[in-house]
């Protein structure tokens, strides 16, 4: 049932308005950060309050304005959107705390710009989550790209400039070239752009054209970092760590996969996907990314870069799960959005914490750091376990469902892909953990003693690490929403 | 055929005149010659207009006493062309003023020299 409610709009607006407050209080850092925390809490509260509604199978819609005849800026908070929104807005609270610690202990410049852009980025993310049609989605998608640009180029150095250029060329370029094109084609054939459970394109155009549009969409959402459109993500690692953590492990990249899932479930629909054989095609396509990105990760010495390649690989899990088009597969894919978010943000937080405490960025320099920073490295271990998929950490849950889904689809090859990628994950995460805990610190450690990072930095990463574990024992809130999504999608 | 040629010769004359002017406008190197070409070009159009309005055996469209029965030529093209002439003169004035300024600035009114000067 559709309920008209202003809540989706409020959830978007709260941080948009908030960014204004942040800018207005730029002279008073404590007040400014106070606003950030307050806004993030408010946002989460609004989003969380929608959970009961969607669990009962309803969705909230709100039409803001008719952009042009037939095309509205419209929001719909359905189970899928709320799932993503809850993940993103919850992690924003923690990231805000972390940002404060991180930015202050490094004494970064332009902090107002940073916090303001962050707030708008979250608005855009929630906008993507709650978009009811492709134009609204496109709008917030572009907004997210633009507003994260100053975050990526925060350092204002020539390298940051180069990185920003690449970031923009990939994200804005592909979205204009492919996504917009695909949207207009969709509108031309289907006559509507509204997301709907059964898809809107069935029978609208010849199969070949539909396949073409599908691949235009896939290429258009470069935020999902599917190879070969992945290389912006490692480049974007030049951003401050909290940005990498929330945006390039959660908000931005997940916005990409979320959008692709929207396309698969709500534009094409499960039936059309399987009748065009697009599901299996996509699955194989992303399998390549899963394996190759993991191999790339193995070769990286820079910790953040290794995490970035790991992210690329993990993002494709989500799409793989959805593309399986089986119940378990889809649940696994959707769950992985949340699970990977919690774990990967932990890992990024740890990387930032190490940087704050010791200014080290390379894995080869981390010998023995576990003894100096036990909490951080413990959290890192938890995150790594989750990535590999070892119980009792949440990563196991989604991976389990993904394997189950592949089995349901009777596809041995995909099972092998998933298992071997888990091995690869282990191969590039465990050495770090071993190095940190079991190797002796190198001689070159200078006199200054490395201590655990400030509390504002450490507490968030412990929270997310604990979150990753809790999600293993108590995945119900997310799992139930995921079930509702899958029921709707298959039932519709 | 003869009749065809005799019937239309006036248009062809104006077209030839026009081509001469047009050629000077786009091909001449001297800025003033271009303006001269422009004038020929425009004058050709005036001739064309006037010949539209001509009526064989017609007289100037002015009413005289006792001349009610004569054939008058069409007055409209005359009116239009009066306006067009003024426009042409004004255009010439403005372009010449620009040429004067160009001469003051560049010391030449040869297009190739001016382009050379601009390159430096």
């Amino acid at each position: 049932m559709e309920i008209v409610s202003i809540k989706p709009l409020l959830a978007i607006l709260v941080s948009l308005v908030g960014s204004g407050l942040i800018i207005a209080s730029s002279r008073n850092p404590n007040l400014r950060e106070g606003w950030t925390i307050l806004i993030s809490l408010a946002k989460f509260a609004i989003v969380a309050s929608m959970v009961p509604t969607v669990l009962s199978g309803n969705k909230m819609v709100y039409t803001l304005i008719e952009l042009f005849p037939g095309i509205e800026i419209k929001f719909r908070a359905d189970a899928f959107g709320v799932f993503f929104a809850v993940t993103a807005s919850f992690l924003w609270i923690i990231t805000s705390l972390y940002s404060i610690g991180y930015m202050r202990s490094l004494n970064e410049h332009s902090q107002t710009r940073y916090f303001a852009a962050f707030a708008i980025a979250l608005s855009a993310t929630i906008g993507i989550a709650f978009a009811a049609n492709l134009v609204t989605l496109f709008m917030f998608y572009e907004l997210l790209t633009l507003v994260t640009f100053p975050l990526v180029t925060h350092k204002d150095t020539p390298e940051a400039r180069q990185a920003g250029r690449k970031y923009l060329a990939y994200l804005l370029g592909t979205s204009i070239a492919f996504q917009l094109f695909a949207i207009v084609l969709t509108y031309t054939f289907a006559g509507t752009l509204e997301f709907s459970e059964g898809g809107i394109l069935r029978g609208a155009a010849p199969p070949l054209v539909l396949t073409l549009i599908y691949f235009l969409f896939i290429a258009g959402f470069a935020k999902a970092a599917i190879m070969p459109l992945h290389s912006w993500l490692p480049t974007a690692m030049i951003a401050p760590t909290p940005v990498s953590a929330l945006l390039h492990a959660v908000a931005v990249v997940k916005a990409g996969v979320f959008s692709i899932l929207r396309i698969i479930f709500y534009i094409y629909g499960v039936d059309l996907m399987s009748s065009l054989n697009l599901g299996i095609l996509t699955a194989y396509f992303v399998s390549f990314t899963i394996i190759v990105a993991s191999l790339f990760a193995l070769t990286q010495d820079n910790l953040k870069l290794r995490l970035a390649y790991s992210t690329i690989s993990q993002l494709s899990y989500v799409i793989l799960g959805a593309a399986l088009l089986t119940t378990s597969g889809m649940i696994g894919g959707i769950m992985h959005i949340a699970v990977h978010a919690f774990s990967k943000i932990t890992l990024f937080f740890c990387a930032g914490s190490i940087y704050v405490a010791s200014h080290k960025t390379n894995i080869s320099e981390l010998s023995g750091i576990g003894k100096k920073m036990p909490l951080t490295m413990l959290a890192f271990t938890v995150g790594s376990l989750s990535m590999v998929g070892v119980p009792p950490v949440a990563g196991f849950i989604s991976k389990w469902y993904l394997l189950l889904g592949s089995a349901e689809a009777h596809n041995m090859l995909l099972i092998i892909v998933l298992l071997s990628s888990s091995l690869l994950n282990a191969a590039y995460f465990f050495p770090i953990v071993c190095k940190a805990f079991f190797e002796e610190p190198a001689e070159t450690f200078d006199g200054e003693e490395i201590k655990e990072a400030p509390l504002f930095v450490v507490i968030p990463l412990i929270l997310t690490a604990i979150g990753s574990i809790i999600l293993f024992f108590y995945p119900q809130p997310f799992l139930r929403i995921a079930y509702v999504v899958v029921q709707n999608v298959i039932g519709g | 055929m003869i009749e065809f040629i005799l019937g239309k010769y006036n248009y062809w004359i104006y077209i030839i005149l026009m081509m001469i002017g047009f050629y000077a406008m786009i091909a001449k190197n001297n800025l003033v010659k271009k303006i001269i070409g422009m004038n020929i070009f425009q004058t050709a159009v005036f001739l064309f207009y006037i010949s539209i309005g001509d009526v064989k055996g017609g007289t100037a469209p002015i009413v005289w006493e006792g001349m009610e029965k004569v054939i008058y030529v069409n007055p409209v093209p005359h009116v239009l062309i009066l306006t067009a002439i003024v426009v042409a003169v004004s255009t010439t004035a403005v372009t010449l003023a620009v040429v004067i300024r160009i001469y003051e600035e560049f010391g030449t009114i040869e297009e190739d020299r001016i382009l050379e000067a601009l390159e430096d």
Binding site: I65, E66, L67, F68, P69, I73, V135, F138, M139, E142, L143, L146, P150, T153, D156, R161, G164, R165, L168, L172, G173, I176, A177, L180, F181, V184, L185, Y187, T188 | F22, M25, I26, L31, K34, M38, F41, Q42, V45, F48, Y49, I52, V76, P77, L80, T83, A84, V87, S90, T91, V94, T95, V98, V99, R101, I102, E105, F106, I114, L115, L118
Partner: protein, 496 residues
């Protein structure tokens, strides 16, 4: 009622103020600016009134000297030209408000005559738009052209003179072509009134005279709208003209020429003739596609901001013409809407470019580095307009691009859709280059030297018009239904 006479007053008010400016200027040259603002505001008010009246009651016909058409001259106002009138007067008002300091600085000793000619330019543009008599159109066209040549010629650098001369030669060729075409039409119909022509012409559609007339109209207007490959006058003219002039020409004069072209194509001739019989629209759409690509590519190569914007104009005119050329309801909607949208965007961009020249003397894109710190609001406006040009959703640029794309794909003309997409990417390249420069700080030397950033924002009379225009770039992108209401009626009228 005086409102009945608004159509003529709309022209006469700026005209009389142009005539009286030299006198007022002798009292105090500062008064010229007030005169200009006053008269253009009046015109804006009247054009809004007329737009409203046309929306409610349909076509307005005003008989000059009370002679009934086709014997006298008629001002005929329908949806299309009331829409263009509002655009022209509005942009003109914004640019005029802005002009005060800019003119003061760039043309200190010529203020009085500048405003005289400037007002004549506006008069001419409004005259072209409002008239229903094709010869009258020619006369106003010449008023516009003469003042435009002059305004270009008074640019600071001596390149301006050469640009102006070339503009004048090409402009005269174009005007004379139009004059020939008018003569040809008059010859076979005996009338000069557009409405009368449109009823007299259909039986003559096979006549070679009419075909030649159409060809010469198209050639003539193509030069005036700077349609590739007849755009050669435009880049230099826009680059070297004074800032205010670049802005007004880029935002209104090519638009009015495009209007005149549409007027002749669709109402003097008929859609049936140009689309079905001679299919000139098909050729037009291909030329427009080339214009879009070539203009965008050349824009990338520029280092001078004004020249870059000028080439971008060539591409954008291609958008308008592509919309007309595809001549479906959707694409015409896009093209007509782009007249407004491009006017807003280009006015903003040129005004900002002028403002930067005013404040810092910088024209080179590379030197834009770090301007954000010096002129944050101005640069914000530039960013908004640039993003709009790229076609980011939520801005006006997106709306017209959307309709053009839709129109192209609806007809299955994928090539044109690809051209539009490609041009967006090219625009992303050349506008982002500027934006990037704006937002990245200068090399560290400069920062250290200053010790702190000094804000050098503009005087209010310059800043406010820029901000309003930039705001409209967003507002009309989200509230697109407002212009679409009238644009929808226009495209219904043209090809419906």
């Amino acid at each position: 009622m005086i409102t009945e006479h608004f159509p003529i007053l709309l022209i006469v008010v700026p005209l009389t103020s142009a005539l009286s400016t030299p006198l007022i200027g002798t009292l105090n040259k500062k008064y010229c600016w007030y005169t200009a603002i006053f008269s253009i505001s009046l015109s804006l008010f009247m054009s809004l009134y007329i737009l409203n009246a046309v929306m409610h009651t349909g076509r307005i016909s005003y008989w000059l000297g009370n002679w009934e058409p086709p014997y006298g001259i008629e001002y005929a106002i329908d949806y299309l030209n009331s829409y263009v009138l509002v655009i022209v007067t509005f942009i003109a008002l914004a640019v005029t408000i802005y002009s005060k300091w800019s003119v003061e600085k760039e043309l200190p000793e010529k203020t009085v005559l500048f405003y005289t000619v400037y007002l004549l330019l506006i008069t001419g543009l409004l005259g072209i738009t409002i008239t229903g008599d094709i010869f009258n159109l020619y006369v106003f066209l010449e008023i516009t052209s003469l003042s435009a040549y002059t305004l270009v010629a008074i640019g600071k650098k001596r390149n301006a003179l050469v640009a102006s001369y070339n503009y004048a030669i090409l402009g005269t060729i174009s005007a004379t072509f139009i004059l020939i075409a008018i003569g040809y039409l008059y010859m076979v119909t005996g009338t000069l009134n557009m409405a009368d022509l449109s009823t007299k012409l259909p039986p003559l559609y096979d006549s070679k005279v009419v075909l030649t007339a159409l060809a010469f109209f198209m050639a003539g207007f193509s030069i005036k709208v700077a349609l590739f490959p007849l755009h050669v006058w435009l880049p230099d003219a826009y680059t070297h003209a004074p800032s205010v002039v670049s802005a007004i020409l880029a935002a209104t004069s090519t638009k009015v020429a495009a209007y005149a072209m549409i007027r002749v194509m669709f109402t003097v001739f008929s859609p049936e003739f140009i689309i079905v019989r001679v299919n000139i629209t098909h050729i037009l759409s291909w030329i427009a596609a080339f214009a879009i690509i070539v203009g965008s590519v050349l824009a990338i190569a520029q280092v001078d901001i004004k020249k870059m914007l000028a080439y971008s104009s060539v591409a954008q005119i291609g958008y308008i013409m592509l919309g007309i050329g595809l001549s479906t309801k959707l694409s015409v909607t896009g093209g007509i809407l782009h007249i407004l949208n491009h006017a807003l965007m280009k006015a903003t961009l040129f005004l900002v470019a002028g403002a930067v020249i005013y404040k810092t003397g910088i024209r080179n894109i590379e030197e834009y580095r770090g301007l954000r710190r010096e002129m944050p609001l101005t640069m914000l406006a530039f960013t908004i307009a640039a993003l709009s040009m790229i076609g980011v959703p939520g801005t006006v640029g997106f709306v017209s691009k959307w309709y053009l794309l839709l129109g192209a794909l609806h007809e299955g003309k994928w090539v044109f859709a690809l051209v539009l997409i490609l041009s967006s990417l090219l625009m992303l390249v050349y506008f982002w280059r500027v934006i990037e420069n704006i937002y990245f700080p200068k090399m560290h030397v400069a920062v250290a030297m200053d010790g702190g950033d000094k804000k050098k924002e503009l005087p209010y009379t310059m800043l406010v018009p820029i901000l309003i225009l930039a705001l409209l770039c967003i507002a009309l992108g989200i509230l697109a239904f407002i212009p679409l209401k009238i644009v929808g009626m226009i495209s219904q009228m043209l090809v419906g």
